[in-house]
């Protein structure tokens, strides 16, 4: 999952619903695994498949007109449960970027920790993006992490997005927080000694 991140240009899959919670991204009955593999197969399981396992043709992941590695979702994406399985499902399906006007805190961290980039845009930019995809499902979006700029290539409109410098460095270089923290164990010991 540690895919280095730089500039990504891709078509998008639109999901213009608000408050998409992590129970929808990956239902609890699929949380029984003890590894991180295969969650992509059950991404949005109950919106994507009928009870008998047949596909729901009207759900966007089953619509052949839409493809790409960028998911564009409505406000408050990833609310609810802290399950990182939701991020594993999104990454496992092949998404590299999720664009929304608002993310829930824990899920946003979970995406970042799995090298999926959450891009927060303004409500106006998001609405225009949905409109652009609606008009032309082959339109592309460019996500430039080094410059922190997202561009709707159909309208040419750009917007800057925020990410802290440390996390940006991690994403661009395939580094993770555990390595950093283990290197800093001496600082933890110092803190413990000072706070006995």
């Amino acid at each position: 999952m540690k895919q280095k991140f730089n500039v990504i240009t891709s078509t998008c899959i639109p999901l213009p619903l608000e408050n998409v919670d992590t129970d929808q991204i990956i239902p609890a009955r699929f949380l029984k695994a003890t590894d991180k593999e295969g969650f992509g197969d059950n991404l949005f399981r109950d919106w994507r498949y009928n009870k008998d396992g047949s596909i729901k043709k009207d759900f966007v992941l089953n619509d052949p007109r839409y493809s790409g590695v960028i998911l564009v979702a409505g406000k408050n994406f990833g609310s609810g449960s802290s399950r990182e399985h939701a991020a594993w499902a999104i990454a496992g399906y092949g998404f590299r970027v999720v664009i929304s006007s608002f993310f829930a805190d824990i899920h946003k961290n979970n995406e970042l920790n799995n090298f999926v980039l959450p891009v927060v845009v303004s409500e106006g930019f998001l609405q225009e993006l949905f409109d652009s995809i609606n008009e032309d499902n082959k339109m592309e979006v460019k996500v430039d992490l080094p410059n922190q700029v997202v561009t709707n290539l159909k309208t040419g409109k750009s917007e800057r997005f925020e990410i802290n410098g440390y996390k940006k460095h991690c994403l661009m270089n395939g580094l993770d927080d555990v390595d950093f923290l283990v290197e800093n164990r001496d600082k933890v010991e110092s803190w413990e000694n000072a706070n006995k």
């Binding site: 919670d21 800093n184 706070n195």
Partner: protein, 463 residues
């Protein structure tokens, strides 16, 4: 500035990374079987041992069946996940409160009742309802599995410091209005994202008057407003609750701890990034009608009509009502229901069982209702039996099941069938939360009890 949140957070900062997050020291890591296996696997792959194994406590709770816990778990995948936690605890030398022992229960119920969650602590768990422990005056919040691994590896996580919010609820709650109603009221006012990015301090007369159980319920639901966590400054009630519990400080340690805990309050000059005020007299018994916890109404109100909903949110609103089988403007009082669930980390404590028993006493369960009464821990179960609550509910046609998360998220056998209505004291009414196709109406234990004996949505004030 100078809020209690600042005081606890800042004290735990190991370092602040330039243009990056804070490295925060964690006093307690709780693990359950669902969100820990991949973290343990990561530790193995890196060849690491837990840095501070004595600060980690593990609890199987999500997959545990609520009957026949002494027999092998029937679902082989659940069994494997439970066995994996046992093995991981053995391999990494961690304390585990094993299934079907007196120490077991839902981690968010057991942590406080064992005296493990204490004022001034930083507490994390791979579970969004970790905010529950905030009731003890701790900074407690849910994290992902990668972050669980960080804590195992270093007893720290990297985290941006959230903003601070104070929610003051003043006045006095009316009879039959409880902590769950307060939380449901706040969610409907703030929406499920209104507190995102914030850590909430609950304050005001209502919170001071609340029992510890009530505060645990209130803090539990902080995440449903999007908050990173929520807490109540510790007071005499908190200290009284903690004193004498199994892991609570004793003797000289107690005196020292107590002296420190008494300093844990926001300064009179504290400045919050946001401050909200509510009045108890505006809060009635509440239920939800939709598929997120913010979609709630007072029990005698009607579902909002479409014209009152923001245009951009109408599609999500209608999708939600279609799922629930409700219509805009509909009144839910008197609507038939099929299941009742009393339990979860939200309402699985002794006070919740007392409230339920108080209403069903001398009455009979409605024939059309299947009811699951699931204590939050074996200690709660013990209290239920000591107080004779088991006899009262059994006489009314109910049974007490064995402790665990149960139908809150249906990872065990306790699933609400598709299309059926469940009045549930749990925390989430998301699509499929209680089983594929299940329709959840969140409510207090009082409303759950009223529904269980009448078979329909009933205002407990009218019983």
């Amino acid at each position: 500035m100078n809020t209690l949140f600042d005081k606890i957070w800042d004290k735990h900062v190991v370092q602040t990374i330039k243009d990056g997050p804070t490295q925060l020291y964690i006093d307690r890591l709780y693990c359950h079987e669902v969100t820990s296996p991949q973290a343990f696997a990561g530790m193995r792959a890196r060849g690491l041992e837990c840095f501070r194994s004595d600060k980690i406590y593990c609890m199987p709770d999500h997959n545990t069946p609520t009957h026949d816990q002494d027999k092998p778990v029937e679902d082989p995948i659940s069994r494997k996940q439970l066995d994996t936690l046992d093995k991981n605890c053995d391999d990494f030398g961690l304390k585990e409160f094993k299934m079907n022992t007196k120490d077991n229960g839902i981690i968010h119920v057991v942590g406080p009742e064992k005296g493990l969650s204490l004022p001034g602590m930083t507490i994390v768990c791979g579970d969004s309802h970790t905010s529950t422990h905030g009731a003890m005056g701790a900074v407690a919040f849910g994290i992902g599995t990668s972050e669980v691994e960080m804590v195992m590896a270093s007893q720290c996580i990297l985290q941006q410091k959230p903003k601070s919010m104070r929610i003051n609820i003043n006045g006095k709650l009316s009879p039959n209005v409880v902590a769950k109603d307060v939380a449901l009221y706040l969610m409907s006012k703030l929406t499920t994202s209104g507190a995102t990015g914030y850590f909430v301090e609950y304050s005001g007369h209502v919170v001071r008057d609340m029992s510890m159980e009530g505060r645990l319920t209130l803090c539990n639901l902080s995440i449903e407003m999007g908050a990173r966590g929520g807490f109540v400054a510790p007071d005499e009630k908190t200290f009284e609750y903690i004193k004498g519990r199994e892991y609570a400080p004793k003797g000289e340690e107690w005196d020292k701890s107590l002296a420190y805990w008494k300093t844990l309050k926001s300064g009179d000059d504290a400045i919050f990034d946001k401050e909200l005020n509510f009045n108890a007299s505006d809060i009635a018994p509440r239920i939800t009608y939709g598929t997120n916890p913010g979609m709630g109404i007072a029990i005698d109100e009607t579902i909002p009509t479409l014209d009152t909903i923001d245009e951009k949110e109408q599609a999500s609103f209608m999708k939600s009502l279609d799922y629930m089988g409700f219509a805009p403007g509909e009144k839910l009082l008197g609507h038939a229901i099929d299941y009742v669930f009393l339990g979860a980390c939200t309402n699985g404590r002794i006070e919740d069982f007392r409230a339920f028993a108080n209403i069903v006493k001398g009455k009979k369960k409605a024939d059309n209702v299947t009811a699951w009464l699931v204590p939050g821990s074996w200690l709660v179960d013990k209290q239920i039996r000591e107080e004779g609550i088991d006899k009262i509910v059994e006489a009314a046609g109910f049974e007490i099941r064995q402790p665990g998360c149960s139908a809150c998220l249906a990872m065990n056998d306790d699933k609400i069938p598709a299309g059926k209505y469940s009045v549930s004291t749990s925390n989430r009414n998301f699509e499929g939360r209680q089983g594929p196709g299940s329709r959840t109406i969140l409510a207090s234990p009082l409303i759950a009890a009223a529904a269980a004996i009448t078979g329909k949505i009933t205002d407990p004030r009218t019983l």
